[in-house]
C-alpha cells in the first residue's frame, strides 16, 4: 500500500504514555502525518477501560509506564480478551535499552516496535512499514475479526502459497489459532513443518506447548530447556518450562526457573501467581509471601486475577502474625482478614478454595490471639473437610496443620498419621509434613529437637543428603542446637560433596561447624565420629 493511500485521516488512535510531554509530542507528530482523531491516557488501567469501550485502528503503548501495568501486560490483556480487533495495529514504543528484552515476546507480540527517541522521520517510516506489513495479513485478520476460524486458516495457507517469504509468519499465526482451537494434532504438523525449515524460537515454544497439552511434560521440558541454551531471552518459554516441571512434580526446579523469570520481568501477574503456587508447594513461605503480594497488587483491575494468591498471601502472613513485633502482628492480622474477605466477596469460590479460606481464617484468628473466634472458623472449615472429596495431599497437610492448633494433639496426630501414610514415599510432601510438626513444636524445644534428630538420622540413613542438609541447617540455628545437630549438619554437607555437588558457601559453613565442635571432649562417645568426619573433609578439600 503506497504511503498516500494509508487513510490516516480516518484512523482512530489511542496513545498510552505516562509522560505528558511525550504524549503531546506524539500527538503533534501524528497530526503532522494526517491523523485527526487521537485520544491519550497516562496509565494501563485507563488504557484498558478505553480499549474495552472503544474501537481503535491504531494503538501506541509505551513499554515503560512507571507504576502499574507496563506495555507488555496491557498487550497481554488486550490479546487475551480481544480488546483490539485483529485487523487493528498495536505498536509498542520502547526505550532503546529495553528493545532486546521485549523483542523476546513470543506469545503476545505487538504488530511492531518503535524505539525511542521517536522523531517524525522515524515515526513515518515505521508506521508505513508496520501498516504495510499488516496489510499482507489482511485477509487472515478480517476473518479473525469475524471469528471465522476456517476462513482464517485458509487465508494462512493461501498466503504461504502465494508469498513464500511470508510462509513462516503465516504458519506462526496458523499454529496459534490451532492451539487456541485445541486442534493439537494439526498444530503439531505445522510446527514440525516449520522446524524442518528453520529452528525458530516461536516454533520450538509452539511444539513444546503441543507436548504440554498432550501431557507429554518431559518432552515439553526438554524442548524448552534446549531453547534456554540458545542464549535467547524468552521469558514466556521459561513460564512454560516451569509449567511442565510443575506438572511433573518437580517443584524445586520450577521455582528456580520462575525466580529467574520474575527477576527479568517482575510485572507479569500470571508469572507471580505461578511462583506463589510452587513456593507454597515447596513450603518456601518467604518467596510465597513476596510473589503472592506482588500478584495481589498486580491483579487489581486485571482479567488474570485469581483468589489463590489472596488466600496464599493470607497464609504466608501467618509467621508475622504469630511471631512478629506488635506492630507487624496487628497490621498483618488486618491484612490477612481483609484478603480472606476479598477472596470471598470478589470471586465465586469452589469448595476447596472456600475450605482453604476458612482454614486460613481460623489460623489467622488463633495466631492473633482470638482463640474463640478462631475455633468457630475452624468448625466451619471442619464441616467442609468431611464433605470434600478430591483434596490434594498438600491440602491435607494444611488441614493437619490447622488440626494441630484446634484439636487435641492425639486427634490431630491421628489425622497426621493417615496423611503420612498416603504421602508414602513422596519426598517433597514428607519434608512439608515434618516441617509442619516442627513448627507446631516451636514452643516445646526439647520435643522439637528430638523430632529433628530422629528425622535427620532417618534421612542420612537413606542417603537423602539434600533434605537432611536443609533440615540440619535450619536446626543449627535453634537456640538449643547441640553436638548431634552439628554432627548431622557436617555429615550431610560432606555427603553432598561426596556426591559431587560441592558448594563454596557450604565450605565456610563446614569450617564453622568444626569450630563449634572443638569443645567436644575426647572421652565423648561421638568423638571418633567427629575425627572420621575431619578425615573425610580433609580428603575432599585436599583434592582441590
Amino acid at each position: 500500500m503506497p504511503l498516500e493511500l494509508i487513510p490516516y485521516h480516518k484512523m482512530s488512535v489511542l496513545i498510552i504514555e505516562d509522560l505528558a510531554e511525550m504524549r503531546s509530542s506524539m500527538k503533534s507528530m501524528l497530526g503532522n502525518i494526517g491523523v485527526q482523531h487521537t485520544e491519550s491516557v497516562n496509565n494501563g488501567e485507563d488504557a484498558l477501560k478505553k480499549l474495552r469501550n472503544n474501537d481503535y485502528d491504531l494503538v501506541f503503548s509505551d513499554y515503560e509506564l512507571g507504576r502499574g501495568k507496563d506495555g507488555q501486560q496491557i498487550l497481554e490483556e488486550v490479546r487475551f480478551n480481544n480488546l483490539v480487533k485483529p485487523s487493528s495495529v498495536f505498536i509498542m514504543v520502547t526505550a532503546a535499552q529495553t528493545v532486546d528484552m521485549v523483542m523476546g515476546a513470543l506469545e503476545f507480540a505487538p504488530d511492531g516496535y518503535i524505539a525511542k527517541p521517536v522523531t517524525l522521520e522515524l515515526l513515518k517510516t515505521r508506521l508505513v512499514r508496520i501498516i504495510r506489513t499488516k496489510d499482507i495479513y489482511k485477509e487472515i485478520n478480517l476473518a479473525l475479526d469475524d471469528d471465522n476460524t476456517e476462513a482464517a486458516l485458509n487465508a494462512c495457507n493461501r498466503l504461504a502459497m502465494e508469498k513464500p517469504k511470508f510462509a513462516l509468519p503465516a504458519y506462526r499465526i496458523k499454529g496459534k489459532i490451532l492451539i487456541e482451537q485445541e486442534r493439537f494434532e494439526e498444530a503439531k504438523d505445522i510446527y514440525e513443518t516449520v522446524l524442518g525449515i528453520k529452528r525458530v524460537a516461536w516454533a520450538i515454544l509452539g511444539m513444546a506447548k503441543v507436548h504440554f497439552y498432550f501431557k507429554e511434560y518431559e518432552q515439553a521440558q526438554n524442548l524448552l530447556e534446549s531453547l534456554a541454551k540458545t542464549k535467547a531471552k524468552y521469558v514466556e518459554a521459561q513460564d512454560w518450562l516451569a509449567k511442565s516441571l510443575e506438572e511433573q512434580g518437580k517443584y524445586k526446579a520450577a521455582q528456580k526457573v520462575l525466580v529467574e523469570a520474575v527477576a527479568q520481568s517482575p510485572k507479569s501477574i500470571r508469572r507471580q501467581q505461578a511462583l506463589g503456587r510452587v513456593a507454597e508447594k515447596n513450603g518456601d513461605i518467604d518467596v510465597m509471601w513476596k510473589s503472592c503480594r506482588k500478584a495481589v497488587a498486580l491483579g487489581k483491575n486485571s482479567c488474570f486475577k485469581s483468589p489463590d494468591v489472596f488466600i496464599g498471601l493470607a497464609k504466608s502472613l501467618q509467621p508475622k502474625i504469630k511471631g512478629g513485633s506488635m506492630r507487624d502482628k496487628k497490621l498483618s492480622t488486618v491484612e490477612a482478614l481483609n484478603l480472606i474477605e476479598s477472596a470471598r466477596m470478589d470471586f465465586d469460590l469452589d469448595t476447596i478454595a472456600s475450605l482453604k479460606c476458612s482454614l486460613v481464617e481460623a489460623e489467622t484468628l488463633m495466631n492473633s490471639g482470638k482463640e474463640e473466634e478462631g475455633k468457630l472458623a475452624y468448625r466451619a472449615a471442619d464441616t467442609i473437610i468431611s464433605s470434600s472429596k478430591n483434596l490434594s495431599l498438600d491440602d491435607k497437610i494444611d488441614i493437619f496443620n490447622t488440626k494441630l492448633q484446634f484439636e487435641t494433639e492425639e486427634i490431630a496426630m491421628e489425622y497426621g498419621k493417615q496423611v503420612l501414610n498416603e504421602i508414602a514415599s513422596n519426598k517433597r510432601l514428607q519434608v512439608k509434613y515434618y516441617k509442619t510438626i516442627e513448627l507446631f513444636l516451636h514452643n516445646r524445644p526439647a520435643d522439637r529437637l528430638k523430632l529433628v534428630k530422629e528425622r535427620g538420622e532417618e534421612l542420612l540413613l537413606r542417603e537423602d543428603v539434600e533434605d537432611a542438609l536443609e533440615m540440619y541447617l535450619r536446626a543449627s540455628s535453634f537456640k538449643d542446637a547441640d553436638e548431634d545437630i552439628f554432627l548431622g549438619a557436617l555429615k550431610s554437607i560432606i555427603g553432598r560433596f561426596k556426591k559431587g555437588r560441592p558448594d563454596r558457601q557450604l565450605t565456610q559453613k563446614c569450617d564453622a561447624l568444626f569450630k563449634e565442635l572443638e569443645t567436644l571432649s575426647e572421652s565423648d562417645p561421638r568423638h571418633p565420629i567427629l575425627e572420621q568426619l575431619k578425615f573425610q573433609w580433609e580428603e575432599i578439600t585436599g583434592d582441590e
Binding site: E21, D100, T133, A232, K233
Partner: protein, 227 residues
C-alpha cells in the same frame, strides 16, 4: 567473583548509568533547542549538537553490547526479519547525522529480501559501519541487500577514500588494528564478534571488507548472515 570480573561489572554498570543519564540530558537539551528561534547558522550548530549527542548515545549502546558479547550472559534473539525494514529504519534514525554532515543515503533493496538475525544487534553493526564512513569523510552511503541460497547479504558502500591497504590485508577479526585507524578497527572487531553469534549449522555470520573497484571509489562492507 574475580577482580577481573568485578572490574568488568563495574565498568558495565557505570556505562549503563551514563547511557541513561545522557539519554535524559539529551532529551532535555532537545526540548530547549526546539523551543528556541534560531538563525540558519545557529540551526546548523544545533544539528551538529543533536548529531553528536545521538552518536554518544549510540556509542554507549554499542560499547555495552560489545562488552556483553564477551560474557556468558549475552542474549541473542534470532527471528526472520525483512532487510528493507531494518535498513529503512537505520536511515530514519540517522536524520541528525545526515543534517550535520551533509550526508545522503540510497536504499537499494527488494521488499521481500529476508533473513534470520537479531534486529538490535544488526542495528549496532550497521551503526558502526555508518559512523566509520562518516569519520572517513564520506558524503554518500548506499545500503543494499540481496540473498542467495546460502546467505542474506547486507552491503554498506560509501564514496569516501576506501579502507587503507593494511586494513584489508590484516585479519581484523583477530583484533589486529593499525594505529591510524584504531577506532575503525576496534569497532569492526566487535561488529565481527557480534555477527558471528549468528549461526546456522556450521556456518557463521561474517563481515567482509573491500574497496570498490575503479573508476568508483569508496569502502564496501558486506555483512553475511547464513540462511
Amino acid at each position: 567473583m574475580s577482580n577481573e570480573d568485578m572490574r568488568g561489572q563495574l565498568l558495565a554498570a557505570s556505562i549503563h548509568e551514563i547511557k541513561n543519564r545522557c539519554g535524559l540530558m539529551f532529551g532535555e537539551l532537545d526540548s530547549i533547542l526546539d523551543s528556541l528561534t534560531l538563525t540558519n547558522d545557529q540551526q546548523q550548530h544545533v544539528q551538529q549538537i543533536k548529531s553528536e549527542s545521538q552518536f554518544v548515545g549510540n556509542e554507549l549502546v554499542r560499547i555495552l553490547a560489545s562488552y556483553k558479547s564477551l560474557s556468558d550472559d549475552f542474549f541473542i534473539n534470532i527471528d526472520q526479519h525483512f532487510a528493507i525494514e531494518l535498513l529503512e529504519e537505520v536511515i530514519a534514525r540517522h536524520t541528525y547525522t545526515t543534517a550535520a554532515h551533509g550526508l545522503s543515503f540510497t536504499l537499494d533493496c527488494d521488499e521481500e529480501v529476508s533473513g534470520f538475525f537479531d534486529n538490535s544487534i544488526l542495528f549496532i553493526i550497521l551503526d558502526t559501519c555508518i559512523y566509520n564512513s562518516v569519520k572517513a569523510g564520506a558524503k554518500h552511503i548506499t545500503l543494499s541487500s540481496h540473498e542467495d541460497e546460502q546467505n542474506l547479504y547486507l552491503c554498506i558502500t560509501d564514496d569516501g577514500p576506501g579502507f587503507p591497504e593494511d586494513m584489508l590485508e590484516n585479519d581484523f577479526s583477530q583484533g589486529s588494528i593499525s594505529m591510524d585507524s584504531q577506532s575503525t578497527g576496534l569497532g569492526l572487531f566487535f561488529a565481527n564478534k557480534l555477527i558471528r553469534s549468528h549461526q546456522e549449522g556450521d556456518k557463521l555470520g561474517e563481515i567482509r571488507l573491500s574497496n570498490q573497484s575503479a573508476p568508483k571509489q569508496g569502502a564496501k562492507v558486506t555483512l553475511l548472515l547464513p540462511l
